[in-house]
């Protein structure tokens, strides 16, 4: 039950009546009159429990893209429904203008649309639908809040896709390149072509030259059908906020760009989100279905406030890989966490596979390091300097174990990781 401003106005009208007849009984009498009118109005209002509500909402939408939630209201109350309908969503679903006035004769239907503009990745859930059905006098209303399930999956934004064309161009340059630049154990023979000035004479195929009238060289191309295993660390260190987003979001951007690139390069991409157990995984999906599958798997992943269990993560990775592969660990170079967890368990992995550790650096630490204003800021700068020294030390220790380290700011991590992948591919280290 709820009352409207008219009920307040009618009560306020009582002041005039009391001024004319200033006796206490008039106050009581007027209150009883207002209560009676309100009760009558409530009794005559259409029942909000006899309104059929059908919600339709898109299954998924990419972050920063607009979407809409539609409610189809059908009045089955046998009375005319004058109501205020609120379609409540989580605040981060960005449901603006979610209050709708409807005036529905009996048996008719109406569609109300609430615009959604999600501000966070993950599953955004609809809350209750509230119907406030006002009576014919407009004094009071019957109100009910109903659970009408609705879920909008908000996929990662994949803002780093703008870096993809340039990296694909670089990938094409690797293709069909002569052995001059790319001579490695892992490079594959691609085709024969005519010699042009500048080619390495060592790559001339003499047997083919002998069969033809011109000099022919062998060309090489990067290996195909290699495996790329992306391990996304979802433990406590990934919950830390860098800029406006948690570290895990920057890691996801990097994972998506690398997957898109590797898929185009003909490699097989698997993904594992892990802290103490598997949070999400994508395996055996290729071609056009890969990126949607990745985005869908990553969308609901949130950081868990637990310490990562690296030995079991490494075991899970090794169990899924039979051949040599590129293993990308998207984690953070938190000195304490790396010392105790990652360092001891990474050695066996680095022996069997090419391992890249990618970490999101914090621009705020760099800012702190260069601040010189007050004595307090100098102390902060010293602390930031110490943090960077420790990160550098951890980086060196990882490199000593044969691990590639990419440490970049949130916006740079995805392109830097893609570049590292291309460099490894060009060097035939995949």
């Amino acid at each position: 039950m709820a009352i409207t401003w008219r009920a307040v106005a009618v009560t306020a009208l009582g002041v005039v009546v009391v001024l004319v007849l200033p006796v206490p009984i008039v106050v009581v009498g007027w209150a009883v009159l207002v209560v009676a009118l309100v009760a009558l109005d409530v009794a005559l209002a259409a029942s909000p429990r006899r309104v059929e509500i059908t919600r339709s909402v898109p299954v998924s939408v990419r972050l920063t893209e607009a979407s809409r939630s539609t409610l189809l209201l059908t009045n089955r109350s046998g009375r005319r429904l004058r109501a205020l309908v609120r379609d409540a969503w989580q605040p981060s679903a960005g449901a603006t203008g979610n209050r709708h006035r409807v005036d529905l004769p009996d048996g008719e239907s109406r569609r109300v649309v609430t615009a959604l503009l999600p501000t966070r990745r993950g599953d955004r859930l609809a809350d209750k639908v509230t119907i406030r059905s006002v009576g014919p006098l407009g004094l009071a209303a019957r109100q009910v809040s109903l659970e009408v399930p609705g879920r909008l999956r908000v996929l990662p934004e994949f803002a780093s896709r703008r870096h993809l064309p340039s990296r694909l161009a670089r990938l094409r340059e690797l293709d069909g390149r002569t052995a001059v630049q790319v001579r490695g154990a892992g490079t594959e023979f691609d085709s024969l072509r005519e010699y042009v000035i500048g080619d390495d004479v060592r790559s001339i195929d003499w047997r083919a030259t002998a069969r033809r009238s011109e000099v022919v060289v062998r060309t090489w191309r990067p290996e195909r059908d290699r495996r790329v295993m992306i391990v996304l660390d979802t433990s406590r260190t990934s919950a830390a906020r860098i800029g406006d987003l948690p570290r895990i979001d920057a890691s996801m951007e990097a994972a998506l760009l690398l997957s898109a690139l590797a898929a185009r390069a003909g490699d097989r991409v698997d993904l594992l989100a892990y802290d103490r157990r598997v949070r999400a995984q994508v395996a055996g999906t290729g071609g056009p279905r890969l990126l949607p599958a990745l985005a869908d798997a990553l969308a609901p992943v949130d950081p868990a406030l637990v310490e990562a269990d690296w030995p079991s993560a490494v075991a899970a990775v090794q169990q899924r890989l039979s051949q040599r592969a590129l293993v990308v660990l998207l984690t953070s170079l938190e000195p304490a966490a790396v010392e105790t967890g990652l360092l001891p368990s990474i050695a066996p992995l680095a022996k069997d596979h090419t391992v890249v550790v990618a970490s999101v650096a914090d621009p705020e630490v760099a800012q702190l390091r260069s601040a010189r204003g007050t004595t307090a800021e100098v102390f902060d700068a010293a602390a930031a300097e110490r943090t960077e020294l420790e990160r550098a030390a951890v980086t060196i220790r990882l490199r000593q174990r044969g691990v590639e380290v990419v440490d970049a700011l949130p916006d740079d991590l995805a392109p830097r990781l893609a570049d590292t992948y291309l460099a490894l591919k060009a060097a035939g280290r995949l």
Binding site: P22, S145, R161
Partner: protein, 418 residues
Amino acid sequence: MTAPPAPSPLRPSAPTRSTVSATSTVMGDGTTASSRARRRWRRAVVPLVVVALLALAALLAAVLRPATSGTPLAPDNPEPNGGRALAQVLERQGVTVEHVRTSAEVARAAEPGTTLLVTSTFFLLPDQVDVLADTGADLVLAEPDWTALDSLTDGALDTGWADSTSTTVLAPECADPDARAAEGIDSDGSGLTSYGDATMCFPHPEADTFGERQYAYAVWDDDARRITAIDDATLLTNARLADEGHAALALRALGRNDHLVWYVPAFEDTGVEGGGVQPTGSLLPSWAGPVGAQLVVVVLVLAVWRGRRLGPVVTEPLPVTVRAAEATVGRGRLYRRSRSRGHAAAALRAGTARRAAARLGLPRSAGAPEVLEALARATGRDTAQVADLLYGPPPTDDAGLVDLTRRLDELESEVHRT
């Protein structure tokens, strides 16, 4: 094997977006009017019981008012500034103690042959003082002020200006049996002086500026009654009653008659029957009450209107997102609080050395002498100077640390230029 990579139909820009809609239909929440009423009752019963218990407790507290008060010198006040000890001892000795607060009650209770204790004359108006005089009862005045004392004793007694901070025990030095029985009191009062034939006891050690002796206790016998004045009311309090001879003096002065009227003047009493201040309501027009009540009703209805939400508040399940730099900032505060200038300087020096060495292309394994040598060559400085900057003693104060930081920045910028 030699085929070029097949062009993928995938638009590489984004995960493709699903346009399939999920639908769900709901009507009502499966409740009936009676089930809702039952649920509401179940939800309301505990708060209702709590409110009822609170109301009962308030009622009991109002009915069973404690028999004590906090009024200074009141016979029902057990605090250090109260007079319950004195009143109880008197009652045990067979004296009936009647506690009154207004001069009307005084006029009714006090009569010749009773004792009237006035704990303070400060709030009394001249009319009320006259009421005291008219009772004909024996008066005991605790710390009277000048006007009341003057009018009650026809100018025979007056208040003095004794040094109230003295802590010496005063001897009676008079013939009054009550005072002699008390043997000694420790009065902090301002003293009493006599201009008539009053018996003055317990002289203060020093005379006032006019050479008059100051006394702590005075007895003035009118033909009809006896007026006793004590210059320090705190002698009668629970806290000080047991000190020196205070108890003897007070019990003898107040226990002279079988009936004692204990008058603690109330601030709001003006001596006029029916209270002094007129109720404010009587000044307002007659319609003010009902209109005020109606306005209260309007405000209540307004509150109900604005207070009803359109559905529950929706909460956001937020992930725990701590700023990543938080740990670094915390360490900076630790340095600051413990004034670890040595640690701070070491970190700054190591950072500068690492970056400069990297810029000069030195291997990470390079030792201190090589780094110093290379830096000196790059900046054109003296090796000893660079060594002092990078490996010198830690700064001893904050200014030293700031200065060191500035010089390190200078060194680094010179390396940068090279």
